[in-house]
Subunit: 364 residues, 2 copies
């Protein structure tokens, strides 16, 4: 993997998480769009740091990174001579550390759960440490490959909802960078483009960390899709002017009743879309749906460091002594969601019934 590469030649899908030489390698999203830099995590502590700092972010991508993280933990233990019982203890510690990085995205817990169950069953069945290590890596690879395949299926299901010429408004980055490489909300856009539709995107810049300006704009521009940035507060005027055919966002956790957590600023968009009769679609794979969370009130919303709001690039924006409230997510009630776009098709209200199609693939 090269250290720096021009986005003009961006392959598609573009990997955001990979396994190389017994390490988890991440495209460092804190450095985009200025630099295309890969960050190597040789142990779980480094990976936890990368997740907390948002070097890797986006619910599906965090899940993939965590799956590789447990493979890493096991294989390091096995390489240092640990047998299955000791390796299982290391894996448990790694699982706890990774689970503590970010509370909201359910895909993280889903991936950790799948890997832990695999290891526990294999050990119970008498597998040796090397065999379990190979199986954990293979399952992480499968989770990544599966994410790409599901991204394509989801994208195609969503593209069919769009008119031949359309303008899509999106928030944050639910693109290739947030997933194994294809995308959820932007996966719909890519599939629409591939199907011959003329699609353009309005991208909220998405304060405080500007994932829209830095990441969504970057990957869309690199793929030749016309993209116009706007401040988050400008979406109201845009919708009011009738310039948007569909709002499409991703999600970090979708409760059993269809309430969802997504990047802060999503809920106002949903309200605006309803006010203006514009469909509001949430694009997410089955792993983002959490049957164990009954509704939005039960979703834990991560609050992050106020400095993300108060400072930018090391420069303080606000006066000394002033603080900020910095929730990473907000909760959008199911009644504002026109449909969920998933790899198993487009799910419409009533969600208590329609989400059942997701079955055992649903998260956590």
């Amino acid at each position: 993997v090269s250290d720096a590469e021009r986005p003009g030649g961006l392959p598609f899908p573009f990997p955001t998480v990979a396994w190389r030489d017994e390490a988890v390698v991440l495209l460092d999203q804190t450095r985009l769009p200025g630099a295309l830099v890969w960050r190597t995590c040789g142990d779980v502590a480094q990976l936890c740091g990368a997740i907390r700092e948002l070097a890797v972010r986006g619910a599906p991508a965090i899940g993939i990174a965590a799956a590789y993280g447990l493979a890493l933990a096991w294989r390091r233990a096995a390489a240092s001579g640990d047998g299955p019982a000791a390796a299982l203890a290391s894996l448990g510690a790694a699982r706890a550390a990774l689970a503590g990085t970010r509370p909201t995205a359910v895909n993280l817990f889903w991936a950790l759960g799948r890997q832990a169950r695999l290891a526990e069953r294999a050990v119970a069945a008498g597998a040796d440490a090397a065999t379990v290590g190979a199986a954990l890596l293979a399952q992480a690879d499968a989770i990544l490959a599966d994410d790409l395949a599901r991204g394509r299926a989801l994208g195609e299901a969503g593209a069919a909802l769009l008119p031949e010429r359309c303008a899509v408004l999106t928030h944050c980055n639910a693109g290739g960078l947030a997933t194994g490489g294809y995308g959820t909300a932007l996966g719909v856009v890519y599939a629409a483009q591939a199907s011959g539709r003329e699609v353009r995107v309005f991208a909220d810049e998405t304060r405080p960390l500007l994932q829209g300006a830095r990441l969504t704009a970057w990957e869309l521009a690199a793929r030749g899709i016309p993209v116009t940035l706007l401040c988050d507060g400008a979406a109201g005027g845009l919708l009011r002017a009738g310039r948007v055919d569909a709002v499409i966002v991703g999600a970090d956790r979708i409760a059993a009743n269809g309430d969802l957590a997504n990047k802060v600023g999503t809920y106002p968009l949903a309200l605006l879309a309803r006010e203006h009769g514009v469909p509001f679609y949430v694009a997410a794979p089955a792993s983002t749906f959490d049957p164990a969370t009954p509704d939005g009130a039960a979703i834990v919303v991560e609050e992050r460091n106020p400095d993300e709001v108060l400072c930018l690039g090391g420069t303080r924006l606000a006066p000394a002594g002033v603080t900020a409230w910095n929730p990473a997510f907000d909760v959008t009630p199911a009644r504002l969601v026109t449909a969920f776009i998933t790899e198993k098709g487009v799910l419409r209200p009533p969600y208590a019934a329609s989400l059942a199609v997701l079955g055992p693939d649903a998260g956590a």
Copy 2:
């Protein structure tokens, strides 16, 4: 006036526009909160530049600055020996230049119209150039003094709407800095504090130019009012959590039917307030009401340089080649406004009737 002064000792009201030594002196709001710097405009071209660059901003403050600007234009002409007819021509040119700076705030046109009418009538009545120059300066002083008095009256009318302990959410800066020194939306907060109410403020940071983070936080903190910043997109979660008792904003132009233009991001707040049963108040002096504009569709919304969105402090945030849509304002329909808070009292729907109380003080 000192070049730098600690905000801790901020006098109240704090002048944002003043007349000193035949020049218009402005507190340079582009430099806040880092530095308290005064900018001297010795001619109308400099003043136009200062208005365009937002060194002075806020509808009432722009009106005051423009009133002084026409006094400046006349007095410079008179000082160079022009008689009334030539000075009137200079004044006409200055009026056109100032009117071209920012299209949305009606107070600008209101102040220009008042000054121009005064000069025209005085010249028609046979006044000499020095007399007209003195009268124009006196009227600019009166517009400033009047703004302060109206700000106090408006603040007291609004404070009576608030409970004894309350949290107010505001957007942009409708404070002392946006006016002659007292404020509209923040004038209500100051009056509430003065009346013994326990008031705290949540301030949207207000992208792209961060007037909430830079200006509102600065003036509230300097006056000991607890203030918490948030990203514009976070207001939805804040209202949904029931943490706001009232939303109070200013306005740049209010149409005859009560539709209003205010800083971009205001309209989503109004929609959120209605959704959560929180009152949405618009605080503005009579000069902000424009009977000549029938409704929001007739309001011209200024679009500013995309670089305000794409760059911050000289650093580009978005990838090269990506553009942005950067409207300075949005339009909020009258049906979302719980009441207008004015110096003539609190005006409630139906606005077509209640706004009539503003009479000849209304703008343009």
